[in-house]
Each structure stands twice: as C-alpha cells, then as structure tokens.
C-alpha cells in the first residue's frame, strides 16, 4: 500500500517541530549552508475584520507524474518503485537547477556542492517500519502518514458529514 504524508491544514499551528525533527533526522546544519527540506509557510487572507490566518508545513509532495523527473537532464531524479517517493541521486546531479524551474511548489534547494536536496519521504525510517520524523513529532496530529486511499476516503467522509450537519441545522431552524 502506498503511503503519503498528509497535512490537515486546520490542525497545523506552525510550531515548527516537524522542521526541527526533519533537520535532526537528515543531519541538516543550516549554518553550514545546508537547506531544510521542510518549511513552514504562513498564509494571511482577507482584510480586517474578516481575516484568516493559516500555517502550512510543506516539503516535497512526491507528485504522481513528477515534472522534476521529466526536467532532469541526467536521470538523477527517479521514482522509487515501492514507496513512490521521488529520490535524488547526488552522484548524478550536476546542479543545473532544471528541477527548480520544473517544480510547481518551489521545493528543490541545493547544498554547497550544488547537489539538489529534498525530502525523500524518510525512506530509511519507513523501510524500518517507522513513521517519517516530521509525522512522528507533530503535536497536533496535523501531519499524518497514511495510505492515499484512506486519506481520500476520510476527506470524503468529512465532506459528506459537513453537508449532512448543514442540512440538519437548516431543517432544525425550520
């Protein structure tokens, strides 16, 4: 069963625990110029008094049809057959930045040797039967590691639930 990291945007509070856990797992030292794989974005919407504020914890989305794989001139980026994770082979990467222009989410970053660096879906941990580091540490349960079908099913269930409770509210009011 193919699993993916799923973010419940309503639960993310932007605490950054996932970012730190990711750096720890992958031995990333920002002060040495190594880029973080996971980043927290803040999103402001609207104008006072009708405003909303969201936090989004994001890393590589491991797209189904990954533009970075098609854009890579050397074949350094591949899709793992089992985990479906998008993996970079540093030995083949020439630092040409083609993947940066291909990625719709601004994920690719480069280390001091100009090798592309990004989330590999914690392959090491997942192979050992563990959860990705970011998911394990998330205090609100916003990040989850689940089968894609399950996530979609739950989303649908929630959506239908919202409609049903909406209908109830309207009929009760009558």
């Amino acid at each position: 069963m193919v699993k993916a990291i799923y973010l419940d945007i309503n639960l993310c509070c932007g605490c950054g625990a996932c970012v730190v856990a990711c750096m720890d797992q992958n031995d990333i030292f920002p002060e040495k110029g190594q880029p973080a794989y996971r980043r927290i974005y803040t999103m402001e919407e609207g104008q006072f008094p009708n405003t909303s504020f969201l936090y989004v914890s994001a890393a590589c989305l491991h797209c189904a049809d990954s533009p970075c794989i098609m854009g890579c001139p050397t074949g350094a980026i591949t899709k793992d057959r089992q985990t479906k994770a998008v993996i970079v082979n540093g030995d083949l990467c020439i630092g040409c930045h083609s993947c940066a222009l291909a990625c719709p989410f601004g994920v690719p970053r480069y280390d001091l040797e100009e090798k592309m660096q990004k989330c590999d879906l914690c392959s090491e941990r997942v192979e050992a039967g563990l959860q990705p580091a970011c998911v394990r540490v998330c205090p609100t349960g916003a990040l989850q590691f689940k089968s894609i079908n399950k996530v979609l099913g739950e989303k649908e269930f929630k959506f239908v639930g919202n409609i049903v409770s909406g209908v109830h509210k309207v009929t009760n009011r009558r």
Partner: protein, 417 residues
C-alpha cells in the same frame, strides 16, 4: 523488406524517442518497434556535452537512459549509424542509408536538430567548432589538450554562455559576440541582460554585441573572425558557433508533410499525414503564450511530446496542451531564469537589490513573462502559475490552485510590487 506484424518506426534516437518507446510499451502496445538513427551512440543529452568537455561528468553520464538497457527492457530493434534517406508516408515505407526498408503502420519523427552554421566564407575551417553531438564534444576536448589561450564564442545563447564558462574555467581569454544587442536576446529583457553583462565584464570576458560575423580566416595562431561594418577583427585559437539549431527535416517530402521551421503538430503530436507523428526539437508544437506553433527546444518538452505521441500511437487518447519558452542556466556563479515573453508587455515590475534581480512582465492583466537573476527558488512556482493561467484563462493565482502554490505566488508578486 521487413513486413508482417504491426510495426512502428521511430526516426531519431533522443529523449523524445525514448519516451515514445516507453509510453508505447507501458500503454500496452505489443507489436514491433524499430528505431532508426544516424548516431552510433546510445541516447544522449546534447546539453550535457559542455559538462563532459569541462570534466564535470564522466563519459557514461552523457547517456541518461543508460547504454542499451532501455531497448532491451522495452523490446526495440535499433538500426544505428545510418541516417534515414527516404520516408514514403503514402506507402508507409522508411529507408535508411544501409538500404534497410521497413513498412510501418505508424511512424514518429524525432530526428532532432543540428547546429546552424551561417553560410559565410571560411566557415568550414577545422578551427570552427559547434557543440551538440557526442563527436562535437570529442573534437573540443582534443582541441583543449593543445592548451589554447583564447576562444571566440559566437552566439550569446544558453549554450554560448556555457561555452564561455568552460573556457573561463580553463583559464582562457574569452570573447563572446552576437548579432543581437544584448546577451540572451530571446530570454532576457535588456535591463536584465545589462546586469549579467556587467558581471561578465567584471570577470574579464570581452563582449561584442551587434556584431555580424562576415568572414573566418585561418591564421598562424588559429582563426581570425571579421565582422560586418567593423574594422576590428577578433583573433583566437578556436572559434565556437552556437547561434541556434535547425530541425533535421531533409528526408521529409515537404510537399506532403507540413513543415515550417519544424514539422507542424497538433496537441496529440500528429502531423497532417495520418499515422505520422513528430516530437522533440524537430517538431513545432503549440506555444500556449502566443497561440502560434513554435519549436521549443527543451529536454523536458521533447520528453513530454515523445510520451504523448507514444500514448496516442498505442491508442490512448491524450493531449499535451503546449509549452512556453523557459530557461534556467547556472553559470559563472550566477543563476539566470527567463520565462515566457519579455518583450511584448504593457506593464513591467522590477526589483533589484544589487545581487538578486526580479522582473515581471504583464499584458492585459496577465503575467506573460519573468526574468530572475540569482533567485531560482520561486521560478518553478511562477512558471507553472503562468502556464496554468494561460490554459485556464485565469489570473495567476486563483482558488483552483493548491494553497501552498497560491501563497508562494502571492508572496513573490507582492514583494516585487
């Protein structure tokens, strides 16, 4: 003549052919596949030749699909080192120089392009180099063994600048000349080009723009190039010409197959002739920005086109809506990104902090192009947003896009404003 089972002919042996082959088999096509090519090498990436000459990659790394694993895995018959001489699309027969004739059911033309050499005096000199094929890389590598001191590069293109970088890193004196008024004439706005040019001059690169090459002469040192309306000629040990690529269409009957700069194709990579497809640098697909058909000679574009052709040839109905010109090049310690159209705008926004340079070009409220220097992080986000907005006729950020993407787009747009 080879007859019998269902047959597909693929002319050319680049990434478009490879993706077509993969797509055919992955979509369930079980007939024969024959690949015709003039090259004796496995599938290589022309862009990597400069990296090989510079010693940044090994010889084997020139071949991203491996040596011949792909043909075995996807069961293809390869007919190498023999160019196709005739393509009879009425009788559906392809003939190569070795005399091999194949009757096909469907055919993909993915014969790519060749470097363009201007028809001027002395151009055939063996001190004149081009850079696209494996043999070009061998020739230049050999020339570098003689420790040349000065190189002249004609053509301020993406490949031209990689040549400049290569010679600069060898410690050579370099002069870069182009007929255009500034560097990257198609991809960069003059203001952006100015920033790049200033940095190149600081590194000691000699730049000559508005210079039309008129004559090449061999001298004791190497080669001398003269330019139109100029008394100042340029002498160097070697001369590299990178002024563009022309589609390889010699074997095509242009009375029957619609050809302009390349073979005209629709969104399913079909030519005007039934059963005949084209993809890659030989094909003129849709430019979603202008609506015109244009050769967009990019690795990823060729792969998408080849894949789309393969799927359609196998009976899967798929379209590739087109592409826009886009380039990213990383050279001499800087990054340049050019996306879309940077000339026909009605509004321009700019931000420059001495190092990082961003330019946005708008027309009728639509983002149509951008230039970036030394900031690549949002380049992909903006490129995809631009293409989406064109395809869906929407503004660049909209609620149909994923939330992270929207936010990144908004962030960079407001930052520049």
């Amino acid at each position: 003549m080879l007859t019998g089972r269902k047959k597909i002919a693929i002319i050319g042996n680049g990434c478009a052919s490879a993706e077509c082959l993969k797509a055919l088999r992955e979509s369930g096509y079980s007939g024969e596949i024959h690949i015709f090519t003039d090259s004796k090498w496995p599938i290589y990436n022309p862009m990597l030749t400069t990296y090989y000459v510079a010693g940044k990659i090994t010889f084997d790394q020139l071949f991203p699909y491996g040596k011949d694993l792909l043909y075995k895995k996807y069961r293809a018959h390869v007919h190498p080192a023999s160019p196709v001489v005739t393509l009879d699309h009425e009788e559906k027969i392809v003939v190569n120089e070795d005399g091999l004739e194949l009757k096909y059911n469907q055919c993909l033309i993915a014969s790519g392009g060749s470097p363009f050499l201007p028809p001027i005096e002395g151009i055939e000199s063996n001190r004149v180099y081009t850079m696209r094929k494996v043999d070009d890389a061998f020739r230049l590598r050999e020339a570098l063994l003689e420790k040349p001191e000065k190189a002249l590069v004609i053509g301020a293109s993406m490949i031209g600048i990689k040549m400049v970088e290569l010679f600069y890193q060898q410690g050579m004196e370099v002069c870069l000349a182009d007929l255009a008024g500034h560097i990257f004439p198609l991809a960069a706005h003059p203001e952006c080009a100015q920033v790049i040019e200033n940095r190149l001059i600081k590194k000691g690169i000699k730049l000559r723009f508005g210079a039309a090459l008129e004559k090449v002469e061999e001298t004791a040192r190497g080669v001398k190039a003269s330019f139109k309306n100029s008394n100042e000629s340029e002498e160097a040990d070697l001369l590299v010409i990178c002024i563009g690529v022309r589609a390889n269409t010699d074997f095509i009957d242009q009375k029957q197959v619609e050809v302009k700069q390349g073979i005209l194709i629709d969104e399913q990579m079909r030519t005007n002739v039934p059963g005949l497809y084209a993809a890659g640098d030989v094909a003129q697909g849709k430019n979603t920005l202008s609506g015109e058909r244009q050769i967009i000679g990019l690795w990823a574009n060729a792969r998408y086109q080849g894949r789309t052709a393969g799927r359609n040839m196998a009976g899967v109905d798929e379209t590739f809506p087109g592409n826009i010109p886009h380039n990213i090049t990383h050279f001499m310690g800087m990054d340049f990104v050019g996306i879309g159209d940077v000339n026909n705008y009605d509004k321009m926004e700019k931000k420059f902090d001495g190092k990082m340079f961003i330019q946005f070009f708008w027309k009728n409220g639509f983002l149509i192009g951008t230039n970036f220097i030394d900031t690549y992080t949002e380049a992909g986000v903006i490129k995809n947003a631009l293409i989406n907005s064109l395809i869906n006729n929407n503004p660049v950020y909209s609620h149909s896009l994923p939330i992270v993407q929207n936010m990144l787009i908004k962030k960079i747009l407001t930052e520049v404003k």
